[in-house]
């Protein structure tokens, strides 16, 4: 990859200088990763140990990429020619004098080995990864030992939500704290309903880190927080609000106003007068307010328009008129104030309840985790902060780590959240000034798009200041991209240069001079008018058997999707793009793999996928967590479900229709017609009589699998089903091309899921099915993702069109990027949210409250809401920036016309404006069309070579488990062996896999033998010279054979063989032969002495064998 030196990076040397701390703000495509990796190399070159480097980036993927790149570079250094190695170094700002010196070069070449051998090695971390490391070395006193990491997904929330409800139900009966919570909960249910309450609690849980930071060590957090809010809202309750309006002596003005109204002859005024006097007569103040408000205020709650006019003067006389207007204004404001106050009072009450429940729920959560020794990422974050803020434990942790970080590198800093920043501060605090590390920080506030993960872009500035103050860090900016073609960069500048919300923005420039590029907008897609005005109601009802109902669906998105497929179809293989190859650029036709389709959210993706599939354009689904919803997986799950629940007729039928059995509707009809109860019985019945080959096959396999389902772990069962059911082969035949690869990948993913679920612990099939049900029900994060497409499936060479969310595309680039649904209005802020104000420099949030419906937010928090809104708008712009800057040469945007006119700006409208500003003749495009040229379409044949199915010899065999007799014999031998050597280490028989029971049965026999007079000569040491148990000999052939016992007495060697049977055994013949053979072998060894053999039977009888 080209280097900043070619880019004329503004003094990038300082950024790489190991001795200095640095803060780099670098625009998209300017090689942040290059810079980070290069700094690591420079550090190592300066003699820094790998374990002294703490590098943190945002995602595991990025972390691994950086590691990989560093190692690759070091390998390159170690193997390249001197000249190349020198170039490499000077590219990275090593002074030419140093580069030329041999020692440096040698050191550089040595790095590769030093790093790969290092213990602990070079590790690029994510924040999470790092926190978990710190947790692992936390002092024992932190009581984190033996905790396991749990993901705080929606499933856990559901479980907690249910148990929380059960607890409240109990507490509602009781007294004290619990009861208060229960009551607050019931009030919420009544006020805002079950769903919203649940939403509140969930969102509250998601923000618990801020909550904990906000309340700190506080004893009564809820009370305190409510206190803060009371202050902010400036009201205690409704009564107080009304007091303000109806303070003693409130009447006169109203009377005066009433008087004037009554004096007016206008009917409307008369009506108002009547209403007003009626209202003033009311004693109940809230009622009174309700009645008199309409006199002064409009429906919308604004002051009624009363303007000075001749008519008015005529009515009241000139100063009467003036007085009337003054009164109207004054009273109006007073009423408005009071209404506002009432609203705040309601919000306060709502917050009191919400915070009470919220806090109780968090305590419930804590208990839940404590019981299971679980921590989740939030805890890790939070606990680490606490540990580091305590001097002693911070010091301990730094000492306890095997690594000693002297250099800290932070990537993608714009995605950091305030809590993480606080942790970093605490970490840096913990160093003694002597050991102060260098800090390198790189990021781009323009690409901060993770507000929903609490990322705080403003931290970048804060951190930069902090570092330049305390670490005298140099600050550098880099606004040159090597990625985007000039045309793209021009549009970027036009987009953002005078976008107030996007300041400060420095104009960017492209280093890819001469690289053709183009930005193009497709006209917005509208409903076609014909469909719009509903066709006249048909005189006759639709015949459902003939014509399908026509869905009143989004025609517009349909059109957008079709246009997309059409456009792309026209460009593949024709439009020519430029590709870097090493240091050259070559021109080649556009491939599927060159295209990146971006969406804001996943919700609409299906439509685009269908269009692509219909056009036969291979793509990788951007959908997530959809594995269990895909038909092929549902097929298999249906089968499994039936296997554990034979009553599941629908699932059986489903499985039968799936490619696994490929049964037809006729087959199903045949089963439906059977009299037997339950489809399983029916299937057995038809299989016994006449039925299709398909049904026969199904019946056979299913019987076998039902049996296996009970015994096998889920994974092994699935594997058997896939194999015996020829599952992959059949799906190849039964899934249309565009979806085939995905289907196969999904089937594979399911298999691996079965293997991996809960580490394969306690793998019963029913439990697996229940798990799958739960996983499928779970939202987002928990639901398993679709299988990854095997890289080598069919279309490999041309790759696949990728559909991604803008978030997912972070850090990626592509020759052609297409922003879909670009005219969507930014998401409106949700009701039932948490409002947190955590200024970047503050150690903890300053504000924490719950927000109800938009229209009921009240005035006192509006500055906070405005700040939120501003941040949200800024993020919209960031998203657009990220989207456009993914494109190397071509950027398209398409969208659908907005039904609601005059909406806030959209990505599309902004692009349109920008193109306008660039002022080409064509306001829908900028830049030159790329060269095109027909080329033969690459053949899409499956390139994957397939190994010939050469016959595999069957290898290995299942031993029949030994029968009781054989086991008895073996144990008898073992026991005799030990008794004759008088050693019996305890539990030896268990070691051999025998039970105490078995031993008990063997022992008497052994004793009988040991006691038998006839055997004394063999078993009593007094009677012989030498004896060996389990004696092994080899015969001429070199074959090893083992005899039970070999005894040497004065006149002979005795080869003894124990038999657990009696002497009357039918096999006596073969026994004799065997012993005889042993005798011969022994004879060849001890030529001198005679060798005799004997069989010893369980009944202590002896049969001599002569050789």
């Amino acid at each position: 990859m080209s280097s900043p030196s070619e880019q004329g990076f503004t003094d990038f040397n300082a950024a790489l200088d190991p001795a200095r701390s640095a803060v780099v703000e670098a625009c998209a495509g300017s090689g942040k990763t290059w810079l980070l990796a290069s700094r690591i190399v420079r550090l190592l070159l300066a003699g820094v140990q790998p374990a002294e480097i703490l590098a943190i980036t945002f995602t595991r993927k990025a972390a691994h990429e950086i590691e990989e790149r560093v190692v690759d570079w070091l390998r390159e250094l170690a193997t390249a020619s001197d000249e190349a190695a020198r170039h490499f170094l000077s590219e990275r700002g090593v002074a030419s004098s140093t580069v030329s010196d041999a020692a440096t070069l040698a050191r550089a070449r040595g790095l590769y080995e030093r790093v790969s051998g290092a213990q602990p090695g070079l590790a690029v971390n994510t924040f999470h990864g790092w926190f978990l490391q710190l947790v692992a070395v936390a002092p024992l006193s932190a009581n984190l030992a033996g905790t396991t990491l749990a993901d705080d997904g929606s499933r856990r929330f559901e479980e907690l939500w249910q148990s929380f409800a059960r607890r409240l139900q109990r507490d509602a009966q009781g007294e004290g704290e619990g009861k208060t919570v229960a009551q607050a909960f019931v009030r919420l249910l009544a006020e805002i309903g079950l769903a919203s309450t649940k939403t509140l609690v969930r969102r509250g849980m998601a923000r618990r880190a801020e909550w904990m930071a906000h309340i700190g060590q506080n004893e009564a957090p809820v009370a305190v927080t409510v206190g803060e809010l009371t202050e902010l809202f400036g009201v205690v309750d409704a009564a107080q609000a009304l007091d303000a309006l109806f303070a003693p002596g409130w009447e006169p003005d109203f009377h005066a106003y009433l008087g004037l109204l009554e004096s007016s002859e206008l009917e409307s005024d008369q009506a108002f007068a009547a209403q007003l006097s009626l209202a003033m007569g009311l004693s109940e103040r809230e009622e009174r307010l309700k009645k008199l408000a309409p006199v002064l205020l409009t429906e919308k709650g604004t002051l009624r328009a009363r303007k000075p006019s001749k008519a008015l003067d005529k009515r009241f006389g000139s100063e009467g008129a003036q007085r009337f207007l003054d009164l109207h204004a004054a009273l109006g404001t007073r009423v408005l104030d009071c209404l506002g106050q009432l609203q705040e009072a309601r919000n306060l009450a709502f917050n009191r309840d919400a915070l009470t429940v919220h806090h109780a729920f968090l305590q419930h959560l804590e208990a839940f985790k404590a019981e299971r020794r679980q921590i989740d990422f939030v805890d890790a974050e939070w606990r680490v902060l606490q540990l580091l803020q305590d001097e002693a434990s911070a010091a301990f942790i730094q000492a306890r780590l095997d690594a000693r970080y002297r250099h800290v590198l932070l990537d993608e800093f714009q995605d950091t959240n305030p809590l993480q920043w606080q942790i970093l501060l605490a970490w840096l605090e913990a160093y003694t000034d002597a050991a102060r590390p260098s800090v390198f920080l790189v990021g781009d506030p323009k690409q901060s798009i993770y507000r929903f993960r609490r990322a705080e872009p403003r931290l970048f500035a804060t951190a930069a200041d902090f570092l330049s103050r305390h670490f005298s860090a140099v600050r550098l900016t880099q606004d040159q991209t090597r990625r985007n073609a000039p045309a793209i960069v021009e549009v970027v500048n036009a987009l953002f240069a005078n976008e107030p919300a996007f300041q400060p923005f420095r104009t960017q420039s492209s280093l890819a001079q001469g690289l053709p590029g183009r930005v193009e907008l497709l006209p917005l897609f509208a409903d076609d008018e014909a469909a719009e005005e509903d066709a006249p109601p048909p005189d006759k009802l639709r015949d459902p058997l003939q014509e399908p109902a026509l869905e009143r669906v989004e025609q517009r998105r349909q059109r957008e999707a079709e246009a997309l497929a059409r456009h792309l179809g026209g460009m593949f293989g024709r439009t020519r793009i430029r590709e870097r190859q090493g240091r050259e650029e070559v021109e080649r036709p556009l491939r599927y793999g060159d295209v990146l389709l971006l969406v804001r959210t996943r919700t609409q993706i299906a439509t685009y996928e269908q269009a692509l599939a219909a056009a036969g354009i291979p793509f990788t689904a951007a959908s997530r967590g959809g594995l269990l919803d895909s038909l092929e997986v549902r097929d298999v799950v249906a089968l499994l479900t039936f296997l554990v629940t034979p009553a599941a007729d629908l699932q059986l039928a489903h499985a039968l229709k799936s490619p696994i059995f490929a049964c037809s509707d006729e087959d199903l009809l045949q089963l439906a017609a059977r009299p037997e109860a339950g489809w399983h019985r029916r299937l057995q019945a038809v299989a016994a009589q006449a039925c299709s080959a398909r049904l026969h096959r199904a019946a056979d396999l299913i019987e076998a699998w039902i049996d296996a389902a009970a015994r096998l772990p889920a994974h092994d069962l699935l594997d058997r089903i896939y194999h015996q059911g020829e599952v992959p082969a059949r799906y190849r035949l039964a899934v249309p091309e565009a979806r085939r690869a995905a289907a196969l990948a999904n089937l594979e993913a399911l298999l691996l899921l079965a293997l991996d679920l809960d580490g394969g612990r306690y793998p019963s099939l029913p439990r697996f099915i229940d798990e799958l049900k739960a996983l499928r029900a779970a939202e987002g994060d928990d639901a398993p993702d679709e299988g990854e497409l095997a890289a080598d499936e069919g279309v490999a060479a041309d790759g696949r069109v990728r559909i991604l969310t803008i978030h997912g595309a972070k850090g990626l680039e592509a020759p052609l990027v297409w922003l879909l649904d670009a005219n969507a209005t930014p998401p409106a802020d949700k009701a039932w949210e948490v409002l947190v104000d955590w200024p970047p420099e503050a150690p903890a949030p300053r504000h924490f409250s719950f927000v109800g419906r938009k229209e009921e937010r009240g005035a006192s928090r509006s500055p906070l809401f405005e700040a939120e809104a501003a941040a949200a708008e800024r993020e919209e712009l960031n998203l657009l920036y990220v989207a456009v800057t993914r494109a190397r040469q071509l950027f398209f945007a398409s969208g659908i016309s907005n039904s609601r006119k005059g909406e806030s700006a959209t990505a599309y409208s902004r692009l349109q404006a920008a193109l306008g500003r660039l002022g080409g003749e064509n306001t829908m495009a900028h830049g030159e069309p790329l060269p095109t040229g027909e080329i033969p379409a690459a053949d899409r044949g499956d390139r994957r070579p397939v190994m010939a199915n050469l016959p595999v010899p069957a290898v290995g065999e299942r031993r029949e488990p030994l029968d009781a007799a054989a086991r008895f014999g073996i144990l008898l031998h073992a026991l005799l062996e030990r008794r004759t050597e008088n050693r019996e280490e305890d539990g030896w028989w268990r070691g051999m896999g025998y039970t105490d029971g078995e031993l008990a049965r063997v022992r008497p026999v052994a004793e009988r033998l040991l006691a038998a007079p006839a055997l004394r000569r063999f078993l009593d040491p007094a009677c012989y010279l030498r004896a060996w148990n389990e004696m092994e000999i080899t015969d001429e052939s070199g074959a090893v054979c083992r005899m039970d016992r070999l005894v040497e007495d004065v006149e002979a060697f005795w080869v003894l063989d124990y038999k657990s049977s009696g002497s009357d055994t039918a096999r006596i013949g073969e026994y004799r032969a065997q012993v005889a053979a042993y005798c011969r072998a022994v004879a060849t060894i001890f030529g001198a002495k005679p060798v005799r053999g004997a069989l010893i039977f369980a009944d202590a009888s002896v049969v001599e064998v002569s050789s």
């Binding site: 024992l140 059960r166 459902p544 109902a549 629940t645 017609a673 439990r767 595999v952 896999g993």
Partner: protein, 916 residues
């Protein structure tokens, strides 16, 4: 006498060389080597050395005694030595000691106890003695950590030290110490010549105690220790390459640069000794890896290579490999084994404990009852029938947990269940209750808990089947053994703590399927050492998995080094030693790793990465190869091949066209004929599910019921003032919701939601009465049969929520909807229900939906020409059925909004039907 050490050239001939040495050393005794003792590092190796010896001798021999040092030492008869404290007893001891001090949460204790136990083993094994007083240790830690004493540090010191003392105080030595004592004594008694075959340098492979043993054994008896020469210093070309790749001391000066070493190698060795011996194969993803491995095994087998080692660095992938091999009839002998917890038998036991813990939550209970191990004494068909019946009863009744509730459910459903199943099912529940009672007992010592578990299993008739199951038997044996060891221990534990303990046992214990004998062996890395394999595959050789073992959780490397405990450097050296032996003794080695996993890059283990780089430098080949492709899965059987799905459009034989259809059935027919086919021709429906929580649909029903009851009691509000009416209705609502709330309190939310609407509803009801309408009946069943051209009829039937009457003005049909008025309006265009009701009722003047989910309650009335609308629906129904009876097809053409919730989508295959 003395110890003679002899280095073997590390290559395939290693064992023969060893055998030769053995023979030479024992020449005097030939052919009777029976007095010789041969100790090797593993039993399989012993077997191989034995054969090597036999063939080397070329004549009959009385073979020496073969064993491993450890087995031999532990088996030896040394009556006057103490027996070590069993692991299990020691854990309990530590657990109680920790608990007594109240330092940690109950839940953490087993884990910490386990860590402390292994730490103390490490200490004894390394013959390390901690300083006698705690402050000493603290000082030592300060030193090693380079950290001033502080609360955390002191605490770590205290924990370790106190526990260490607690163990010492127990008065029984631990296994390592006993082992040391035995070795010492055996060395004393040395009476036979000793031959030791090690698989690495003695100082690396043997503990201090073992080294000492050999040393002193040598004083009285001849000892010959031979071991393969380490790569450095070995004179084989291969060793030279490995030495160059993995220098024992990291290279420092330029002359020793990798590149230089490479060129030097190439200079002396024009041919790479690794060429053809080692392949590095990157794969993307687990399945790809498993396939690459299996494919290679098949290829080798095809070439007649039989003795193949599968080194399972990645257990999960290894498991996939095993499955793929078995498919092709290749069974691998397993020397590693799986955690007991991953066996089906363990699942049964856990299901039992879970059922007890969760007071018989329905899913756990069914999981348990469906286990193949239970109720062996009941005839299996009866068992299956009973479980089936029980499950259906539970689903129908929607009961979540509790044996009592299940009994009730059974009773309710009794009518549908055959006598045998019914009695069997309740018998099973009886026996479960027994088990629950046994296992629900008070805190008790572990031995007692084990006894309880055993009795519980007996009660469920599971013992027999578990014993018959290899893994199950292993587990039961394990329990009996622990029971024996812990017979004396009195510390008592609650259910949770006991269950933790049990889970840890199942996690710790390995199950080895000894039933398979095969020349293809799956084994841990270090067991390949020196054995004669023709080929080996290292599965999962990425930097994360093929890594030196990490030390325990106590202390960091610096401290461990300082204490004299093995550090990660030692582990690293051992790792390289293993690989060195593997590469030099096995002629074909394949190394696989997932270089991409879920889109993330993964590095090859540094050992192989270095080797590859060196090799590339020296011979221009980085040894990286592409995976062998797996033979495509067997082609599908011809007679039942699936084809690309097309739109389903079955037609039903006359006999199977239903004669009755409900209004919802008609709606289904209109929405999508295939859905109608599935539901009403095939009569396939979802099984009921047990819901955790009240759902929207249930809410609707409760609302209906409350209104039905209320109006049954108060046909008209005339007699009631607003307050009274509200009170009455509210009371009704509460009684209707009561059960749901008892079952799950969140139902309260729904009730409150409905109660908030009550005033609005009553207001609407009054208006209606003022308008002259009188409530007449609710939930009215109506039916009407319509003639068909072929003389048959089709009966349409349904149930009307509510019928009002306005005297002469006629009847009003009302249908309650817990939805918003606007939503309902939007759907009136193709509404079927109301006209259908009108048709069924016959004399309705009005038919309307009552929207119950807005501030105000309002109605949407169906088309003004109600009769015509009804008639039209009738005609459509008749026409459709006439067509169906004539074999018309029922196409699957629902619209997305219908399909999204359609349970038949698996039957019509919609998602796979090619969209064009």
């Amino acid at each position: 006498m003395a110890v003679a050490a002899h280095a073997l050239t590390p290559d395939g001939g290693c064992l023969d060389a060893a055998a030769a040495l053995l023979l030479a050393g024992a020449a005097a005794d030939l052919p009777d080597l029976s007095r010789h003792l041969v100790l090797v590092s593993s039993l399989p190796l012993a077997a191989e050395l034995r054969t090597a010896l036999a063939s080397a001798a070329g004549r009959p021999l009385l073979l020496p005694q073969f064993n491993t040092l450890r087995r031999w030492a532990l088996a030896a008869n040394l009556p006057d030595l103490p027996t070590p404290m069993p692991e299990s007893e020691r854990l309990v001891l530590l657990h109680s000691a920790l608990a007594a001090r109240g330092w940690f949460d109950e839940g953490a204790l087993w884990g910490i106890a386990g860590e402390l136990a292994s730490l103390s083993d490490e200490l004894s094994a390394a013959a390390v003695r901690l300083p006698d007083n705690e402050d000493e240790l603290t000082r030592q830690l300060e030193q090693a950590y380079a950290l001033r004493a502080s609360e955390p540090l002191n605490f770590e010191a205290r924990v370790v030290h106190e526990m260490w003392r607690a163990l010492a105080a127990a008065g029984r030595p631990d296994a390592p110490s006993v082992y040391r004592l035995r070795l010492a004594q055996l060395a004393e008694q040395a009476s036979r010549p000793l031959f030791v075959l090690l698989d690495g340098p003695a100082e690396e492979r043997l503990t201090p105690a073992e080294l000492a043993f050999i040393e002193s054994y040598g004083r009285t008896q001849p000892v010959l220790v031979c071991a393969p020469q380490p790569r450095t210093g070995a004179d084989s070309p291969l060793a030279a390459v490995l030495a160059a790749a993995w220098p024992e001391q990291p290279a420092t000066d330029a002359s020793a640069a990798l590149m230089t070493r490479a060129t030097q190698l190439a200079a002396v060795l024009p041919e790479s000794p690794l060429a053809g011996r080692l392949q590095l194969v990157p794969v993307s993803g687990r399945e790809a890896e498993a396939e690459a491995v299996a494919a290679q095994v098949f290829a080798w087998l095809g070439e007649g290579i039989r003795r193949i080692a599968l080194v399972a660095e990645d257990r999960l992938t290894a498991r996939r490999v095993r499955a793929l091999l078995e498919r092709a009839g290749v069974l691998a002998a397993d020397e590693t084994g799986w955690k007991l917890s991953t066996t089906r038998a363990a699942a049964t036991l856990d299901a039992l404990l879970e059922t007890v813990a969760g007071s018989a939550y329905h899913l756990d209970l069914l999981d348990l009852f469906k286990s193949p191990h239970l109720f062996a004494d009941l005839p299996s068909p009866a068992r299956a029938g009973a479980v089936l019946a029980l499950e259906q009863a539970i689903r129908r009744a929607g009961v979540k947990s509790g044996v009592l509730a299940f009994r009730r459910a059974l009773a309710e459903q009794g009518a549908y269940i055959d006598a045998v199943s019914l009695s069997t099912a309740s018998l099973m529940l009886d026996r479960l209750e027994v088990a629950q009672r046994i296992l629900g007992g008070k805190p008790a010592p572990l031995a007692k808990w084990i006894a309880r578990l055993q009795r519980g299993l007996d009660a469920l008739g599971a013992t027999g089947m578990l014993q018959a199951d290899a893994a199950g038997d292993e587990i039961l044996e394990l329990l009996t053994q622990r029971q024996g060891e812990l017979a004396e221990s009195t510390a008592s534990f609650g259910f949770a703590a006991w269950r933790d303990w049990f889970n840890r046992e199942l996690e710790g214990g390995a199950f080895r399927d000894r039933g398979i004998s095969s020349s293809v062996v799956m084994l841990p890395r270090h067991d390949v050492r020196l054995r004669r394999f023709e080929a080996a595959i290292v599965i999962g050789a990425d930097a994360e998995q093929l890594a030196p073992a990490a030390g325990g959780t106590f202390f960091n490397q610096a401290v461990r080094r300082d204490l004299g405990l093995p550090t990660r450097e030692d582990a690293e050296r051992a790792l390289r030693r293993d690989l060195e032996l593997l590469l030099s003794t096995v002629p074909r080695v394949l190394v696989t790793w997932q270089h991409r996993q879920a889109g993330e890059a993964r590095q090859l283990a540094p050992e192989f990465d270095l080797l590859s780089t060196l090799h590339a430098l020296a011979w221009g080949d980085d040894l990286v190869r592409t995976p062998l492709p797996m033979a495509r899965e067997a082609a599908a059987a011809a007679d039942s091949l699936p084809a690309l799905p097309v739109q389903a459009r079955p037609s039903a034989p006359l006999a199977q066209v239903p004669a009755r259809v409900s209004v919802s059935g008609l709606a289904s027919l209109v929405a999508c004929p295939y859905q109608f086919f599935a539901r009403h021709v095939l009569r396939l429906n979802e099984l009921d599910e047990v819901a955790e929580e009240l759902e929207k649909s249930d809410y609707g029903q409760l609302v209906h019921r409350s209104l039905e009851r209320f109006h049954a009691a108060h046909p008209s509000l005339a007699g009631l003032d607003d307050a009274a009416a509200l009170a009455a209705l509210s009371a009704t609502v509460e009684s209707v919701f009561a059960e749901a709330e008892a079952d799950n309190w969140l139902a309260l939310g729904w009730r409150l939601r409905w109660q908030a609407r009550l005033p609005a509803y009553l207001a609407w009801q009054r208006e209606r009465e003022e308008a002259g309408w009188r409530w007449q009946a609710a939930e009215v069943k109506v039916a009407r049969s319509l003639p068909l051209p072929d003389g048959a009829t089709v009966e349409l039937y349904g149930r009307i929520d509510r019928i009002d009457c306005a005297g002469p003005a006629g009847f009003g049909l009302l249908d309650y909807k817990t939805r918003k008025l606007t939503d309902l309006r939007r759907q009136m265009a193709d509404d079927i229900q109301l006209p259908a009701y009108a048709l069924l009722h016959g004399e309705a003047a009005e038919a309307a939906y009552v929207a119950l989910d807005d501030e105000k309650v309002g109605t949407v009335a169906c088309a003004d020409d109600l009769a015509d609308a009804g008639a039209a629906q009738g005609e459509r129904l008749q026409a459709a059925f006439a067509a169906l009876r004539n074999g018309a097809a029922m196409p699957a053409h629902g619209v997305d909004s219908v399909c999204r919730w359609c349970e038949a989508s698996g039957l019509c295959r919609r998602d796979h039907v090619q969209s064009v």
